[in-house]
């Protein structure tokens, strides 16, 4: 019998009511008295020298308040990078300046050059047409490998070349090379993990406000982590003391990573509001989002897998080129390194692994974390090369995986992480059941009878999430702590506000977090509200990304609630004249062991705030506790996914017929929400596998800059999914035993789809061993032509 409340219940989402009635408060719904509007003039060339900007005609146009250029930001900090990678020679990565508005040069299409602030968007746009920008176009570095050649145009004149870092990691390279020399078989695969655009449905918005009365700035922004923005913008860009800077991220319409980062437009609106002493609002158009949101993925990889005569994996070697774009976005350097190299063991006990990553500057939009961030890239190459190896060795791809699974935990990988728990056999068993693998051949025959090719693709994945132990990431180059924080404020009548550092932009925290506190206290969930997204209300937490919210911030909330319970027991003991050690709490009642005495939750909370009969000599009045929680390890969700596709041999069109996911997320707070997270991730993964591609031409023009050209998955591009998370090996090092579920679907699904496409083509005798994403009809049809 499923639970109907507390941990494990599929409580309906309370936030839905406002979203379903049009009462949500997204950033663009916020209008501040007296606000002005900014339109950014952006570069239309990928690389160029700014010879002059003439704003005089535009300044005379109606409604124009002020026009800003890079000159207004001279002497002001640029956008900082939050992670410093050390290269294979022990040298720090190259870290070029990233001005708020371009200074001297533009480095990608969309680079902001000037900003027109006016009384309306229409007036700002009209005036922008009259700003004369004299740009001398320069040759652009677009292709990553070409950008590393000696004669390539330099993205940054003050750097020696376009190499950000050359990073090596894992086992000793000579040992790995020796294992390859001794291998019975080596499978090699070169592949592209194409550039994507996160595309949350809400474009980014920023509203900067300034109070001369209090010398306080407020930024309303579409962010996944308001405190991170406050720290980066206040301390590193604008020099505003944190106690004079408030950052609010209200309802946010999806993020998927792209709203983690500190962007130029946020700094601009905050800065400009102080300059003109009026609020400044910016709302991105979708076209602008394509040119200014940090993009994702964009790796080119060669991966080699060594096997012995019995098909045991003996070594793995990878060489990856990772595109940084024109500037380093906030966490960009960490993605191809620590979020990617550390995952190369996957679910397998490969003893020797060596990873090399070269990060490259190009004249394209900066690249940073997108749902999964490094882990989808790792999973894709590993699970594709294993599938290719199975085909080359003539063995069943599931059996080959099973043979090489890690089966004993904890397991220390050759790539620096230690898996605490997992059961990869159980998730594969579950997958075979829910995907009806046994029934595939019959379905294939049925497809073939209709003239279609059918393929089955299976893969596993593991991710490291719940990001992350601060002392560890500090050693790895992070310039931030990655703890989180929660304050549990119990009111006199017993209702509770929990102020959390995590931010909900679709994940349902407002529903799931109260389920935990309600379970611990035995009170109704409706008595508990979650407060998030406003740096003036919440403790200094680090926000939501890396599937960390419940594992890290949820743990902080548990710790704070434990403090509440400890104090409340002291009060209850006083009220019942009992020993504190004998006090228990159940169903909202404090009881005394061995007696029938009890006192209700609400009586204890009232006593805390009306302390007439209260142990004032022992404890303070009030009932409010804060906890900061720093995890001791990552969490390691894992699972097995299966995809069945049909391919139309006449057109190359691929349709996903069935998709099944068996995940191990450890303990589950709200199964309904977890299902939804997996569904969404799978949808994005199918999008990457079959449809989406962020494409630049050779001059650096973004040719997929709208929904007319960038193929977002629609409802008729995907099937119903079968998902299961009944395999649960709880995390051993956080109090809830949770692992996180936000990214799994996007990590686990692309290889399943491509493995299925290759299987379908092979079934018709096509000797196709790989097809790059997106497996569009054109690419699939071309592959079938040999």
């Amino acid at each position: 019998m499923p639970k109907d409340h507390g941990i494990g219940a599929s409580s309906k989402r309370r936030e839905d009511v406002r979203f379903l009635t049009g009462a949500g408060q997204y950033t663009d719904d916020i209008n501040v008295q007296g606000q002005t509007y900014v339109h950014f003039i952006r570069s239309d060339v990928a690389h160029g020298r700014i010879n002059g900007i003439n704003t005089s005609a535009a300044e005379a146009m109606p409604g124009v308040i002020r026009i800003f250029t890079g000159a207004d930001f001279e002497g002001i900090g640029g956008l900082p990078c939050g992670w410093q990678v050390t290269d294979r020679h022990g040298e720090p990565m190259k870290e070029p300046a990233h001005p708020v508005l371009a200074q001297g040069k533009v480095r990608h299409v969309g680079d902001p050059i000037a900003a027109v602030v006016a009384e309306s968007y229409a007036k700002a746009r009209d005036a922008a047409e009259a700003v004369e920008v004299d740009i001398e176009e320069l040759p652009a570095a677009i292709d990553m490998k070409a950008a590393l050649e000696g004669n390539a145009p330099k993205v940054h004149d003050d750097l020696a070349d376009n190499l950000c870092y050359d990073w090596a990691f894992g086992s000793d390279a000579a040992e790995v090379d020796a294992a390859f020399s001794n291998a019975a078989h080596v499978t090699t695969l070169e592949l592209v993990n194409q550039r994507l655009v996160a595309n949350p449905m809400e474009p980014r918005v920023a509203v900067g406000d300034f109070s001369r009365a209090t010398d306080e700035s407020t930024l309303y922004t579409t962010s996944q982590n308001p405190h991170v923005i406050r720290l980066l913008m206040g301390a590193f860009v604008l020099g505003i003391p944190e106690h004079k800077l408030r950052v609010v991220a209200p309802d946010v319409g999806g993020g998927f990573g792209s709203k983690i980062f500190h962007y130029a437009e946020e700094a601009f609106c905050t800065f400009a509001a102080r300059q003109i002493n009026r609020p400044v609002k910016w709302t991105a158009s979708r076209s602008e989002a394509f040119l200014s949101d940090a993009q994702g993925r964009d790796h080119v990889t060669k991966i080699e897998l060594a096997l012995d005569a019995d098909n045991n994996f003996t070594a793995l070697r990878t060489e990856t080129y990772a595109n940084m774009g024109a500037y380093l976005s906030t966490f960009a350097p960490s993605v191809p390194t620590w979020l990617h190299g550390t995952l190369m063991a996957g679910n397998y006990k490969t003893p020797l692994i060596h990873v090399n990553v070269k990060a490259v500057f190009t004249n394209t939009v900066p690249v940073d974390a997108y749902r999964g961030a490094g882990r989808p890239e790792a999973t894709y190459q590993l699970e594709r090369v294993i599938d290719k190896a199975a085909r080359e060795r003539g063995v069943d791809p599931i059996a080959l995986r099973r043979q090489n699974f890690v089966t004993e935990f904890p397991y220390a990988t050759p790539v620096a992480v230690e898996y605490d728990t997992g059961d990869y056999v159980a998730t594969m068993d579950k997958l075979e059941e829910i995907a009806d693998i046994a029934g595939f051949e019959a379905r294939r025959k049925e497809s073939e009878a209709r003239g279609k090719l059918r393929g089955l693709g299976v893969n596993c994945y593991i991710e490291a999430c719940g990001i992350a132990p601060s002392n560890l990431v500090g050693q790895l180059g992070a310039r931030a702590g990655l703890y989180d924080a929660a304050t549990v404020r119990v009111n006199a009548t017993g209702t509770i506000s929990v102020m959390v550092g995590a931010h909900s932009h679709g994940q349902g925290h407002e529903t799931a977090f109260p389920q935990v506190v309600a379970e611990m206290l035995g009170i109704d969930e409706s008595m508990i509200d979650i407060v998030h997204g406003d740096s003036s209300k919440i403790p200094f937490g680090m926000g939501t990304y890396g599937s960390r919210s419940i594992a890290v911030c949820g743990s902080a909330m548990v710790r704070a609630t434990e403090k509440i319970i400890a104090k409340a027991k002291k009060i209850a003991a006083h009220l019942m004249e009992a020993s504190e050690a004998d006090i228990g709490i159940k169903d909202g009642q404090f009881t005394v062991a061995g007696t029938d005495k009890s006192v209700a939750w609400g009586d204890v909370t009232l006593a805390a705030y009306v302390p007439h009969n209260y142990p004032l000599e022992e404890i303070e009045p009030g009932l409010e506790e804060t906890a900061f929680y720093d995890p001791s390890n990552f969490t390691y969700p894992a699972g097995a996914y299966a995809c069945e596709v049909e391919v139309d041999p006449d057109t190359g069109k691929v349709t996903v017929e069935r998709f099944a996911a068996a995940d191990d997320f450890g303990n589950i707070i709200n199964p309904m929400i977890v299902d939804g997270q997996v569904h969404g991730g799978i949808g994005q993964g199918i999008g990457q596998a079959l449809m989406e591609n962020c494409a630049y031409d050779e001059n650096g023009q973004l040719i997929s800059a709208s929904y007319m050209d960038y193929a977002m998955p629609r409802a008729d591009d995907v099937p119903f999914y079968t998902v299961d998370h009944s395999c649960q090996t709880p995390c051993t090092h956080n109090p809830l035993g949770v692992k996180g579920c936000g990214e799994a679907g996007a990590i686990g699904s692309p290889p399943a789809v491509i493995n299925a496409v290759v299987d379908a083509l092979q079934s018709a005798g096509h000797n196709v061993t790989h097809i790059d994403m997106p497996a569009s009809p054109q690419r699939v049809w071309a592959a079938m032509q040999g």
Binding site: K12, R13, E15, D16, V17, R18, F19, L20, T21, G22, A23, G24, Q25, Y26, D28, D29, A122, N199, P200, M201, E202, P203, D251, V252, G253, G254, F256, S285, R286, S287, H505, G506, Q507, G508, M672, I673, D675, G676, H679, G680, G681, I682, G683, Q684, I686, S706, Y707, M708, M712, P713, R714, A715, D716, V718, F720, Y721, T722, V723, D724, G745
Partner: protein
């Protein structure tokens, strides 16, 4: 500037609009009905779907002046008279058909238009009808399920999890 008058969610309204003012700007900026969202600039995403004289319309694709005299319904006008969620809204909550909520108003408005012309749509008909509404959060699974449920169909058998 011209004064534009229409009926929105059953109430007569008038506000100033330029010739270039889009219906969605008129609703959001002029009438402060911010439930209708703008997710793109190419009439692809469907976050701005409203009903104009009973037809589903992308409010970013119509000038405010074109709606002169029209009956317009937005997401703010969809709940039952007592303020409770209507059957489609309730189905979206019951079946977790929304996450971040940004595409949701457009989804609900499109779903209502679909069920008006096709009270018992098949899964394929729903997916086809939603071609003009993009959601990035849900993978569409629970949106399709919610619309099936709102039309009174048994979703237990169709969308097993």
């Amino acid at each position: 500037m011209t004064t534009v008058s229409m009926t929105v969610n059953g109430k007569p309204v008038s506000a100033e609009a330029e010739g270039r003012t889009l219906l969605v700007e008129f609703l959001r900026d002029g009438l402060h009905l911010t439930g209708t969202h703008v997710g793109c600039d190419t009439s692809q995403c469907g976050a701005c779907v409203v009903h104009v004289n009973g037809e589903a319309v992308k409010a970013c694709t119509m000038f405010a002046q074109e709606a002169e005299g029209a009956e317009v319904t937005t997401i703010e006008g969809m709940a039952n008279a007592d303020g409770s969620l209507n059957v489609i809204q309730q189905a979206f909550q019951d079946h977790h058909g929304l996450q971040c909520g940004f595409c949701t108003p457009g989804m609900v408005m499109s779903a209502a238009a679909l069920l008006k012309e096709n009270p018992k749509p098949s899964e394929a008909e729903i997916r086809d009808y939603l071609e003009g509404n993009i959601c990035r959060c849900t993978g569409y699974h629970n949106i399709v399920k919610a619309i099936l449920a709102a039309s009174g169909q048994d979703v237990g058998a169709i969308a097993a999890e």
